[in-house]
Amino acid sequence: MTTQTAPQVSAQVSNQVPVQAPALQPPSAMLAELTYRCPLACPYCSNPLQMGGRETEMPTEAWQDIFTQAAALGVLHVHMSGGEPASRRDLRELVAHCAGLGLYTNLITSGVGLTKASFAELAAAGLDHVQLSIQDAEAKSADWIGGYEGGFAKKLEVASWVAEEGLPLTINAVIHRANVARAADMVDFAVRLGARRIEIAHTQYYGWALHNRAHLMPTREQSEKAYAEVEERRIRYKGQIVIDHVAPDYHAKFPKACMSGWGRMSMNVTPQGKVLPCHAAETIPGLEFWNAREKSLAEIWASSPGFNAYRGDDWMQEPCRSCERKAVDFGGCRCQAMALVGDAAACDPICSKSPRHNLIAEIAARDSAEEVAGFTPRRIERAREKSPV
């Protein structure tokens, strides 16, 4: 055997596609937000502040049609999310449809709303993986953060069902000031639950998290301590659990490669059928996004003005345009640039090269000094607007 034929597992495509004049790659992932309904009220939810209720949601057949198109377009993973996807009564039908298309089907759930019987049905329908959220490593705090009494106990139960079915389990934990001291405990906890993987995600400030930032932001010292403790677990648990660690943005030197680049790898579909590059894309004013109930997914991926707005690097300003990192982090996050400096095409101010970078330290210092208790729980407004769909 020569070295050319040596087995190699290549990196994901993310580092291999040049930024300039990119050929449009097929999307590899779809986040299907089946519903915004959710029994929990986590104050860092990435859903928008204005959410449509049940009567605005797409019916089963519309979702099935979208999944069929997604498979043909090259989507490999479908992440069924929300809201709480188990709030949809047709979840089993949707999972079965995706499995039949050969799509890898991931359920992103709080666990609340599942029963042992309904979960067994999902597994039998072809579900591939479960991502279960936890709010903390201890019940009282976890239930307070999620605003749902008994939620923590329910999650333990759901984790045991996943283990009984033999399905892979990922634990997802969002880190903020109310649980930052127990970030590493949550890794230990996930190992005890038998999870193969854990996402320790320091809060990203969009949606409800941006709204509640002053109640969620840890101090720099808290963030750094938690980060180091989790990294230590990576070595301790090597081969037992895979740790995906999302760094605290506001205490970073360089921005994250948000979504691995705008419109490069994945798409979000809202409960109403709107197709977006990410959760927060609609917070950027003036962008036109198309709806999968009106146009084909292939047409949307290739030609939707909202998707094309920040592809490649023509849109970039300095210091991004001439930056050697532009193929690494794509200038950071467009929604964050919009939210913090009022210009979606600006360098993400998380970047130490941004002329507005000082703002980040000011916000982090100010917000981390606030009281933790007063956040606004996520909820769908009772007086809902009729969605245009």
Binding site: P7, V9, Q12
Partner: protein
């Protein structure tokens, strides 16, 4: 829980939720796993298609050495390299 180690008599298999797929859109084989995928070259596919939980590592190596008319030591090194990386990613069972 102890971390498993490859031995000649190990019978490697992809864990549930880890799947080989011949992707017709990208014209390549991929390994689908929880929230990630890996593009595979032809020989990685050859190795993983033999990891069925029945065949022992030593048998897989013999088989590939014969197929590629190649030195067994080199083949074993490459097979172990791939399988160890998948063990570390929690994608493989023994």
């Amino acid at each position: 829980m102890t971390v498993e180690e490859l031995a000649p008599e190990s019978r490697p298999h992809l864990l549930r939720g880890v799947k080989l797929k011949n992707d017709q859109v990208r014209k390549t084989w991929v390994l689908l796993a929880p929230e990630r995928y890996l593009r595979l070259n032809a020989i990685s596919v050859d190795i993983l298609q033999r990891c069925d939980g029945d065949a022992a590592l030593s048998t897989i190596v013999d088989d590939l050495a014969e197929k590629y008319s190649a030195d067994r030591t080199l083949i074993e090194r490459d097979v172990r390299s791939l399988l160890n990386s998948l063990l570390e990613k929690r994608m493989l069972g023994l």
